[in-house]
């Protein structure tokens, strides 16, 4: 299927591409470029108080005694509070979902009451006139602890000799098994069986802006306004309402500029709930911004997995079956409300995703530990599923002495096989794996790179080329969370309003954290309505203003929010033409809107500009027919319905050079081919891919939250936890294929997470490709020089 023909007009009208498909620079960037943004920490309020938290130094300990006497007397202190005090204002929560059968987790309070279950868990709160004074007071809190047994290792946790929550009986939060049947037979008749065990290091998001919340309770009207760096303001509105006992309509959540989130800021954090509770308790605004050290201790971590995988293949190179055993460890609590079982669940759903085998068996256990909590982080589960799949696929190709690209070509689901149901039960509407592979190999000059690799090897220069084919979940329906009982909305809405001067205001329930949601909505709205983009103003992130919706997660903003904007835009255009027809006294079928003007549909001659239309509609409706009412504000909502998840596909490649003496890997280049359906702004899509790829590179080479045997985080600062910086990153070439989804008029699928999903696997495969002459292989991320030197048997 070729590039999307996007009919933006009502049937029978002329096609004007508008801004769809154009790399329009984002209109809202000027203020950010000038340092004139408004991040939560930039806001000023009268009587604003500051919260700081006393956090457990132990990974597991009973709180015997907390003495606040000295802390309360410190300068500027407004109050010092323990878990019981805060529990009087905020009820606890349990993070399970009904459709993840058997999932269990104990109740969690905003501030821990009986015991601390991870190093860094907040056990007391100080509110003071300044953050400095709050921290001074925290240092004066005296505590007595009874240390409890600590569970750190996931295998040990699974064995259950030390149980973290006695009432649960074991340490298993969630487990799942899946079996298509016929797996043993497939392995029995296979010509080639390869197996490997992959380890993925726990790591975290490291958003440059720390988690930030400013809660402002008004005792006079029992209302709470929360300025919150969150991806899902409506979800938080519901949660503040229910847990703080404030009627939903009295809770308003406003997101301002958000300094990166990547999933980190879509979860419920106990210290943020405590901050809101303290505002209610103290009748004044209270702010909490997580500093970098506490971010490492308390922002969700993710992706700690040990996965054993086997692949059965015929000697002709056909994959027959995958067999998977995934063990993943989370913290001591499943995180609210999305639960910490989703990541492992996705590994089961997605392993082997691009390929057309029919037999699949998977076993997955999610176990508690006394390390920091974990939950969904950009690309949730995909980086693991893609890396282990592509890693074992490469191993099979190597065993069969087939080129890795050719092995994939033999096994990728054909481009005409759709709709297609995959062995794990997920359904694909339409993907383009083969087209993507062709485009990748051509774009990267694969054959030439292989030849160059061969020549360089002869001169002891060791380059590696790694591929990673992938599928990605986007635009989810309520199948993700809603069906499990979570009050997480999978639908979104957009209100478009033509202003009297002919400008267009767009209110949308999807939010912005830098990915360009507002720009994309402006492009769609301008195109759908017929105004120029400089006339469009987009407002997101305010539950008091926008329609109700889900916000940003699971790569759904453009596909779902954008569709709502498109439909509202088309409906508004129709309403505008009715007003114009009434003003001009002609049939609306003779009219169209183009470049801020109502024009003749046939001749394109200007008939009335939108500012004039607005003037009449708003200020002179007395000049219009008696039975006519102009309706220049339109709202539409959209929910993806036919497919539980709208899958996309892509394929990435990494080119590396390995120094076998030092174990250092130099990233020479990276390629990313992605099919995300209709592309609204190619530049923004490319930049999402690039940012995502670099995040994935971080996971592959640099990032790991290191814990000692007593559950102490060893590297919780920016010098010791290594994030990708500019000096080591490659240039990334992006290319697009567009297979629109037919579930919406826009046809856009999601793309925000694709880069992160595929990059770790591509880099791993490239390193292992470079190691081929040494008969060495690495399978534990991150691939530090030491791990590579060990594989090379240099140490």
């Amino acid at each position: 299927m070729g590039k999307a023909e996007l009919p933006l007009h009502a049937p029978g009208t002329q096609v004007d591409k508008g801004y769809i498909g154009q790399s329009v620079p984002r209109p809202n960037l000027q203020r950010l470029l000038q340092g004139r943004g408004a991040f939560i920490d930039d806001l000023r309020f009268p009587r604003l108080a500051h919260a700081a938290f006393f956090r457990s130094p132990y990974a597991h300990a009973r709180i015997k005694k907390l003495d606040f006497e000295k802390a309360r007397k410190a300068n500027g202190v407004i109050g010092v509070f323990d878990g019981r005090a805060v529990a009087g204002y905020c009820t606890p929560w349990v993070a399970v979902l009904a459709h993840l059968k058997g999932m269990k987790s104990p109740p969690q309070h905003a501030i821990a009451i009986e015991r601390a279950c991870w190093q860094g868990e907040a056990v007391a709160a100080v509110v003071a006139e300044s953050r400095s004074q709050a921290e001074d007071a925290v240092a004066l809190i005296e505590a007595e602890w009874e240390e409890l047994p600590v569970v750190v290792d996931m295998e040990e946790s699974l064995q259950g000799t030390k149980i973290i929550h006695a009432e649960l009986g074991d340490n298993v939060c969630f487990k799942r098994e899946l079996d298509t049947g016929g797996v043993e037979e497939a392995f029995a008749k296979a010509d080639v069986i390869v197996e490997d065990t992959f380890h993925f290091g726990r790591h975290t998001g490291v958003c440059l802006e720390g988690r930030a919340i400013l809660a402002d309770y008004n005792a006079g009207e029992h209302s709470l306004t929360v300025y919150h760096a969150t991806q899902a303001p409506h979800m938080m509105q519901d949660i503040f309402s229910r847990h703080l006992g404030i009627p939903e309509a009295n809770v308003r959540v406003i997101t301002k500029d958000v300094g990166g989130s990547f999933g980190i800021k879509v979860h419920v954090y106990p210290d943020e709930m405590a901050t809101a509770a303290l505002s209610v308790m103290l009748h004044r605004p209270v702010k909490f911004v997580a500093d970098r050290l506490e971010s490492f201790l308390s922002d969700i971590h993710a992706r700690e997995h040990r996965v054993k995988v086997r692949l059965a293949a015929s000697k002709a190179g056909e994959i027959l079956a995958f067999d998977l055993d995934d063990l993943t460890s989370i913290g001591p609590y499943s995180v609210y409300p999305r639960t910490s079982g989703i990541e492992g669940n996705q590994v089961v759903n997605l392993t082997g995703g691009p390929y057309r085998h029919q037999k699949y068996r998977a076993k997955m256990n999610v176990v508690f530990t006394n390390k920091n909590v974990t939950c969904q982080y950009r690309a949730v589960g995909h980086p693991i599923a893609v890396a282990l799949t592509e890693g074992i696929v490469d191993l099979a190709a190597q065993r069969l002495q087939m080129d890795p690209a050719e092995f994939r070509r033999k096994n990728l689901i054909p481009d005409d096989a759709y709709p297609y149901t995959f062995p794990s039960g997920i359904k694909f509407e339409q993907l383009s794996h083969h087209k993507a592979l062709d485009l990748l190999l051509k774009t990267m000059n694969y054959t030439e790179l292989r030849e160059e690799q061969r020549q360089l090897r002869a001169r002891s220069v060791f380059r590696g080329i790694g591929l990673a084919a992938m599928i990605e979940v986007t635009n989810p329906s309520p199948a993700f969370y809603g069906v499990g009982g979570a009050r997480i909305s999978a639908q979104d809405g957009a209100t478009l309003r033509l202003e009297p001067t002919g400008m267009l205001t767009v209110l949308c329930s999807v939010t912005e954290q830098g990915q360009g949601s507002e720009a994309v909505f402006a492009q769609i709205a301008a195109s759908a309505v017929g105004v120029s983009i400089d006339k469009v103003k987009v407002i997101t992130g305010d539950t008091g203003v926008t329609p109700y919706g889900g916000g940003t997660w699971a790569s759904r903003g453009a596909g779902i929010g954008g569709e709502a904007v498109l439909q509202a835009g088309r409906a508004l255009r129709a309403n505008m033409l009715e007003v114009a027809a009434a003003i001009l006294k002609v049939d609306k079928a003779e009219l169209d809107v183009e470049k801020n003007c109502v024009v003749s549909l046939l001749t394109r001659e200007k008939k009335i500009d939108l500012a004039e239309l607005g003037r009449v509609a708003y200020f002179r409706p007395d000049t219009l027919p008696m039975d006519f009412q102009a309706e220049l504000t339109v709202t539409r909502h959209y929910t993806p319905r036919q497919y539980g998840f709208t899958f996309t596909n892509g394929i990435q490649a990494s080119l590396v050079e390995l120094d076998p003496d030092t174990g250092f890997v130099r990233l020479l280049k990276h390629w990313c081919v992605e099919d995300s359906g209709t592309v609204i702004n190619p530049m923004l899509v490319d930049e999402q891919l690039r940012g995502g790829v670099v995040q994935g590179i971080g996971a592959a080479l640099l990032e790991e939250c290191l814990y000692g045997p007593d559950g102490q985080l060893l590297n919780g600062n920016m010098a010791d936890y290594l994030v990708p910086m500019a000096g080591e990153m490659p240039d990334i070439v992006c290319a697009h294929i567009e297979t629109p989804t037919r579930q919406s008029q826009l046809g856009a699928k999601g793309v925000g997470e694709a880069g992160t999903a595929g990059a770790p696997g591509a880099v791993m495969n490239a390193i292992n490709d470079a190691l081929v002459p040494f008969n060495a292989r690495v399978t534990a991320m991150p691939f530090t020089p030491e791990r590579i030197l060990k594989a090379l048997k240099k140490i």
Binding site: F664, L702, N715, A719, G727, E728, P785, K794, I795
Partner: protein, 270 residues
């Protein structure tokens, strides 16, 4: 992370600085690029910061009678830009770009770096390789301490209470002398996993950073006549402690790799 409370004083003379620095609970503040992060992280709680950056006599780079003298308050950026250093102390010129990042190099000082003596710092190893002398002074007068004696232990240097580093002095590079600085780090500006300051003058000195509590002068390897000999004795010269990501064994291996690379550079004809 907000620093705990402390008082601040900025002496205008050395005499005043010596007196203030001697007080219990006082810490000397120069560039602040190591001290201030430790304060922000509440790793230390001094009562008084003594800001010595107002003392002009501690600045400046000079080359006189074959001796390079770098004042303690000379910033890394000044060393990086200095034509004198480029010509007379290429070892330092090669090392400086490895120190953190430009914004930090604009404030961090040579004196601060060597007084702190972080085991992964670049200058201490370079100064030992150059056979430098650290000029130290206090209210009782000036002392000259050979660099290899100045660095005594983990963050421990030969500075008595109330004393300050005045300068570092070392011979300017002669025509047939060579030096090379090598460092291994995962990212630009990171603390080194391990580094090597190599200086071939009358004697050859291989001095490692990141291989011990202080710069490690690998004497046996330095005295070896072939690379093979040097590599084979290196294990007796260094006993590097592990860090978060690299075991002692890994560091030993990397030390040998650097030794071979430095040796080859030093012995390659121009």
């Amino acid at each position: 992370m907000k620093a705990p409370s402390f008082a601040y004083s900025k002496p205008q003379s050395l005499a005043e600085a010596f007196e203030l620095a001697e007080q219990p609970g006082a810490k000397v503040l120069a560039g602040g690029q190591s001290l201030i992060p430790s304060l922000n992280m509440r790793l230390s709680a001094p009562e008084l910061l003594v800001d010595i950056t107002g003392i002009g006599s501690l600045r400046g780079i000079s080359v006189e009678q074959g001796v390079v003298r770098i004042g303690a308050l000379t910033t890394h950026a000044q060393i990086e830009r200095s034509p004198e250093i480029g010509r007379h102390a290429p070892l330092l010129a090669q090392a400086v770009p490895h120190i953190a990042h430009p914004a930090i190099r604009n404030r961090g000082t040579l004196g601060g770096s060597i007084a702190l003596a972080d085991p992964a710092a670049e200058y201490p190893a370079c100064l030992v390789a150059l056979g430098a002398t650290i000029v130290v002074a206090g209210k009782d007068g000036e002392r000259l301490v050979p660099a290899e004696d100045f660095f005594k232990g983990l963050f421990e240097v030969d500075l008595r209470p109330g004393e300050l580093v005045m300068a570092a002095e070392f011979p300017a590079l002669l025509k047939d002398e060579r030096s090379v600085f090598l460092e291994l780090a995962r990212r630009h500006g990171d603390y080194a996993i391990i580094g090597l300051a190599a200086h071939k003058a009358a004697e050859t000195r291989f001095v490692y950073l990141g291989a011990g509590a202080t710069p490690v002068f690998a004497r046996r390897a330095s005295a070896a006549s072939t690379l093979e000999d040097a590599v084979s004795v290196l294990d007796r010269d260094i006993d590097p402690p592990a860090d978060l990501y690299n075991s002692s064994t890994t560091k030993r291996h990397l030390a040998k790799v650097l030794l071979a690379r430095a040796w080859n550079t030093l012995t390659t004809s121009h």
